[in-house]
């Protein structure tokens, strides 16, 4: 019976067919492929390959797991201002499990996840946002009676690849910030036998997500990653190096507050704590909200949200060149101890010298040859 059903089932449309149905012309589709290939720094020929790969791609099953997170990542992706091909690609993806977006709830929701895993064994993608608590057997975050750790391991077992979306999934993020009360860890600290692509950011840039998914749909492999598991295409350059305020840094023109003349003139925000020099992301080039702006352009320094441990970097408004808080915590003790040891040493030398001088005086007073003994 089931076999008959399978035989009768109409093959799922390809992405090309799905887009054509929605009135997206081939020209627009090629433009999207060229744009995506260019932002990923792929060679020109890759744009055509990507277009062909995407056009032929079939609906990709995706299971989205949300653990210790704030839903900001989902907010970022679903807040597209106007329908775009990127949105349609997301429509095209079969998002089989996502707490926030799916209609089903309770047991039905969990059934959907299990069904997707069963039907797409070895082929489905797992997207994770949020970190996984390990302390006390992971009791600090559970879904349907399962700890996040159990659910992650269970779901990833037959997955093709894992995408860690947002800094919590990629690096532990805010749940993992000092003192990390739940023992939160990043996904790639748990999953070591599958490819894990990190797309950090708080939240990540939507185009980074769509670009990576488009790459996975188009090509067999995963994009080139850096040492932190991030696609080099998006995380290869420091924000500082691509920042439009960079010339002011070189000229030594810095805003000293958020409402002073320097801030109004758009000068460099280094002095008010910008972490752009040590943050690798595409904010300065891709920007946000359809390329409208990014935090530095809006007048606030970069927080470094796509870097590990950004929450504990020593203060958002503390300049990068300063030490972390508490570098002088032993200063008073060190000064007292140093002075005491110095004084003790000096007095010790004085005592020795006094003794030697005393002996010498005594020797002069009693020249009996005793010293030769």
């Amino acid at each position: 019976m089931a076999d008959n059903k399978t035989c009768d089932r109409k093959p799922a449309p390809t992405l090309g067919e799905a887009l054509a149905e929605r009135g997206i012309s081939r020209r627009s589709f090629l433009k999207f492929a060229s744009y995506t290939a260019s932002i990923m720094a792929l060679p020109p020929a890759a744009a055509t390959a990507m277009a062909e790969g995407l056009a032929a791609a079939r609906r990709q099953s995706v299971i989205w797991l949300s653990f210790q997170e704030c839903t900001g990542c989902t907010e970022s992706f679903t807040r597209a201002k106007a329908p775009s091909i990127e949105d349609l690609i997301f429509d095209f993806i079969s998002l089989d499990y996502h707490h926030t977006l799916q209609n089903a709830s309770g047991h039905a929701a969990e059934l959907a996840r299990e069904q997707a895993m069963e039907e797409n064994k070895g082929e489905y993608l797992v997207i994770v946002d949020g970190s996984v608590p390990l302390k006390d057997d992971g009791v600090y975050s559970t879904i349907a009676g399962m700890t996040n750790l159990q659910m992650l391991r269970d779901t990833v077992r037959d997955a093709k690849a894992v995408i860690s979306v947002g800094s919590c999934a990629a690096f532990g993020g805010i749940p993992g910030a000092n003192p990390n009360p739940t023992g939160a860890v990043a996904i790639d600290q748990i999953i070591t036998d599958k490819p894990v692509i990190n797309l950090p950011g708080c939240p990540p840039i939507p185009e980074v997500m769509t670009g990576t998914v488009a790459y996975l749909l188009s090509f067999a492999g995963i994009p080139e990653l850096d040492a932190l598991g991030r696609p080099r295409a998006f995380f290869g350059e420091a924000i500082h190096d691509r920042c439009y305020r960079r010339p002011f840094y070189e000229k030594g023109l810095f805003a000293k507050g958020f409402d002073d003349e320097g801030a109004r003139q758009g000068w460099c925000l280094y002095e008010v704590g910008c972490k752009g020099p040590v943050t690798y992301n595409a904010c300065a080039t891709l920007k946000w909200n359809g390329g409208v702006s990014f935090p530095i352009q809006s007048g606030h320094g970069c927080l470094g949200c796509s870097e590990p441990g950004f929450w504990d970097l020593g203060g958002f408004y503390k300049p990068l060149s300063t030490g972390k808080d508490g570098v002088l915590k032993y200063a008073a003790g060190a000064a007292v101890a140093g002075a005491a040891i110095g004084a003790a040493s000096a007095y010790s030398v004085r005592a020795k010298r006094k003794k030697i001088m005393g002996n010498a005086t005594q020797a002069v007073a009693t020249p009996s040859g005793k010293e030769d003994d």
């Binding site: 590990p308 504990d312 060149s321 030490g323 004084a343």
Partner: protein
């Protein structure tokens, strides 16, 4: 980023602690060390001690003519890297922010590009100082570990600073961390070698001036 975190946190804390303890140690030793009382009668043209001290500080800024020709290069080179170091340390904004964080003091800065140029000149000047030392047999013989160590811990922050700003060889956060670690090394070594002249140069000159004045030296 872990290396930068380590550099900005534990490494800097340790270095500053050692630096402060070391400087306090050296100052205490100087203050409490045995000093032989000079009971001799001052010479006829003895000036007030503070005046003699000030004169000595000024006089040692430039050598007397018999020595000037022979030491001219070292002299000028010495001024170049000392002034260069002072400008780099005290007039680059990131450094001022570092010092402000420690002391609460804030002052004006030069454009970063100007500091980069001065850093290159200072680096070359420091290399020249080492070459001169190694090239002169007499200087080489009297050079001690302290001479080379002092040069090394001074040279390293200048080099790592230039490399960090130009992003040569590694990512900026790694280079910045190495720069901070090299500064930490300088801070740790400074109180225990000849680099202590950073604090004592005018003290020792004053003492010498007062002493020579008492003895009637012209």
């Amino acid at each position: 980023m872990e290396l930068l975190e380590f550099a900005r946190g534990p490494a800097l804390t340790f270095a500053l602690t050692v630096f402060i303890a070391g400087v306090a140690f050296r100052v205490a030793v100087i203050l409490f060390m045995w000093r032989t009382k000079d009971s001799s009668v001052g010479r006829a043209r003895e000036k007030p001690a503070f005046l003699a001290a000030l004169q000595e500080i000024g006089r040692r800024m430039w050598p007397l003519s018999p020595y000037r020709q022979r030491t001219l290069f070292n002299l000028i080179n010495g001024y170049v890297f000392h002034i260069g170091l002072a400008i780099i340390v005290f007039l680059l904004l990131p450094h001022i922010l570092f010092l402000q964080d420690l002391t609460g003091l804030y002052w004006g800065h030069l454009p970063n590009n100007v500091i980069y140029a001065i850093s290159i000149v200072t680096l070359i000047s420091l290399i020249a100082a080492l070459v001169m030392r190694l090239g002169n047999p007499a200087q080489r013989i009297i050079s001690t570990f302290d001479d080379y160590a002092s040069w090394f811990v001074t040279f390293l922050p200048v080099l790592t600073g230039i490399v960090a700003t130009t992003h040569l060889g590694a990512r900026y956060e790694t280079l910045l961390a190495l720069h901070i670690l090299s500064v930490a090394l300088l801070l740790i070594y400074l109180p225990f070698g000849k680099l202590m002249h950073f604090f004592l140069v005018f003290v020792t000159r004053s003492q010498t001036g007062a002493h020579l004045n008492h003895r009637g030296a012209q």
